[in-house]
């Protein structure tokens, strides 16, 4: 088992590889977050951003502090929290769906102030 790990890390995959993967994941997430109108897709994009961060944690921990385990713990911790967060978010999404019959963010304007003084006076 150790051999496999040693081979894996002993230079065949450089740090840049991990960063490139995580960067692509991160910007894919950001793009999704900014462009999507569906709450579910936004949620998935947020997950992508989180996971990109997780990969960086693990990779930097291995390269900068080999032998220490804090980065891995932190990654696992983040995964757990994101699971909880997703659960809560999904619950909200379901509730919104029940109220509005869709999950489009543009339709969520119940609490927003009107735009013009005429509307204010109403």
């Amino acid at each position: 088992m150790t051999g496999l790990f040693d081979n894996f890390f002993s230079g065949s995959v450089p740090l840049e590889g991990y960063i490139i993967v995580s960067l692509i994941m991160f910007f894919a997430g950001v793009y999704g977050f900014l462009s999507r109108r569906s709450l579910l897709m936004i949620l998935i994009s947020i997950e992508l951003i989180l996971n990109a961060a997780d990969i960086n944690f693990a990779a930097f921990n291995r390269y900068l502090y080999p032998g220490h385990m804090e980065g891995f713990f932190f990654t696992i911790f983040t995964i757990a929290i994101s699971a909880c967060e997703t659960a809560v978010a999904i619950a909200i999404v379901i509730n919104i769906y029940r109220n509005l019959n869709n999950v489009d963010v543009d339709n969520l304007q119940e609490l927003k102030e009107p735009d013009s003084p005429e509307e204010i006076k109403k």
Binding site: V30, F33, L34, S35, I42, V105, Q109, K112, D115, S116, P117
Partner: protein, 633 residues
Amino acid sequence: MQYTLLILILPLLSFILLGLVDSKWKPRVAGSIGTSVLGIVALLSYFTAWKYFSSAGFSGTYETLIPFHVEWLRFTEQLHIDLGILLDPISVMMLVVVSTVSLMVHIYSFGYMKGERGFERYYAFLSLFTFSMLGLVVATNIFQMYIFWELVGVSSYLLIGFYYTKPEAVAASKKAFIVTRFADLGFLIGILILSFYTRTFDFGILTSGDANVFAGMTGATFMGASVLSWATALIFIGGAGKSAMFPLHIWLPDAMEGPTPVSALIHAATMVVAGVYLVARLFPIYHFYTPDVLHGIAYVGAFTSLFAAVIACVQTDIKRVLAFSTISQIGYMMVSLGVSGYGGHEGLGYMASMFHLFTHAMFKALLFLGAGSIIHAVHSNEMSRMGGLRKYMPVTHITFLVACLAISGIPPFSGFFSKDEILSATMHFEPALGYLMSFTAGLTAFYMFRLYYNIFWGKEHKQEHTPHESPWAMTIPLIFLATVTVFAGFIPFGEFVSSDRKPFESELEPMVAGMSIVVALIAIFFARYMYRKENPLPDKLANTFAGLHKAASHRFYIDEVYMFITKKIIFNHVSTPIAWFDRHVIDGTMNGLATVTQWGSLKIKWFQSGRIQQYAYVILLGALIIAALVIFI
């Protein structure tokens, strides 16, 4: 002579008492309190006069006495308003006049105002007026005079508006107050200018004739006239307002809306001569330092006198006739002061003016009270509703006739003596002015007898119920005043009042006296011919001089001019635009600021859209830009 203080304090107490109890007491009680207080005041005034004139005569001149004096309000070290009592010949004479007429009016009102709503209020106001007028005449300094000047103005306002449910009375009271207030502004500014340079309000110093008092003013000019002339002219404007000199006379005829006894007291005998009194009080200043202003006063007085007499000839409301007659007679007093010199026989005008003030107060009060008695009987002011009343009202008739003869200048009634002295003083000054005043005297006789014949002779008007003589409360004052009018002319007035306070003998000038008697008699006979029996002549004359007649009966449109100035110019072209400016420009600017702020915040509001994605996009862009800046620069 400390007791003179009581003369002031008693009416004030009476006012406060009657004002506070309002209608809780029976009218008769309130009236009795007011009248008995006035009785005491009148007795005290007579006593003061007797003491003053008998004790002061020995040294040859009458001294100024100040029996009471306190500082009321201090402005600066030198300038302070004092309240005090100043006794000198004219103030003592005024004390007698005011308290006598006021007492008569108090008694008379018992009958005249009987059963009126607000009887107690009426007596309270009368007390207030008497207090203010007495305070005015005994003023020791010009500011005290101003204080009481305002107070008499207010009492006059309250009394003219006594029938406050009548719109005409309300309008008249408002007009009287505002016109005199406008004049008072002149008075106030005059006082300010005078006190600024002389550093005193005190009459004693101002009229001492000491040139050092006015040293600060020498050379000071403003718009071509000396500052002192400005000051005295402005002070005269105050006097002209109260004394109804042209063109500030317009309030007086309207003031007749008040109860008739009030017209007798305030608008005939006492308050309206306050202006004359003011000029007399400051006479040394006018005479020695600003003779031009004094002559101006003479011409204003002469014009007013003629002007008012012409109007009086065509008025049909008996109180209006009397009002214009009052204006005309005050004009006489002003002329007389204006032409007067100083000292001995030179000061005849001064003495004549004060004498005429005295006699006029008596016979004009008598005329007004007589008119009140007539109005009481026929319930109308219009001459056309009267006629043939001599049979029903003998006392009123006789006393009214006495007063008419007095004002027309027929000897031996009092008006003859005082008017004759005025005429001879005027003749000495400027014969043309003298003839003008004699002509006015003729007019006076004419309109008075027009009034007399229209009321007591002529065709009998059908009354709803037969007119009857007034109750004793009203006839006693008439008889008393008539008696005074008959005999007052024989008072050697020059012995008591003169410009330099030294007694002098004044004698009749046969030429002037003869002429004035002839003029008066002609006018009387003319009036008798026209009005005693029905006669088409008055109408014919009115038609011949239609323009003049119409203009005179409209009082030469002076009121219209005033209405134009106040309503059209002040109200519509000053106040309304200012109010509009305030609401729209100034307030508009403030609202505009608010609107601009709101508009601005709406414009930048899209920035806070509430869309998380938009925020994140901006954050991302910002982060990239900062990163780029950090890396590349």
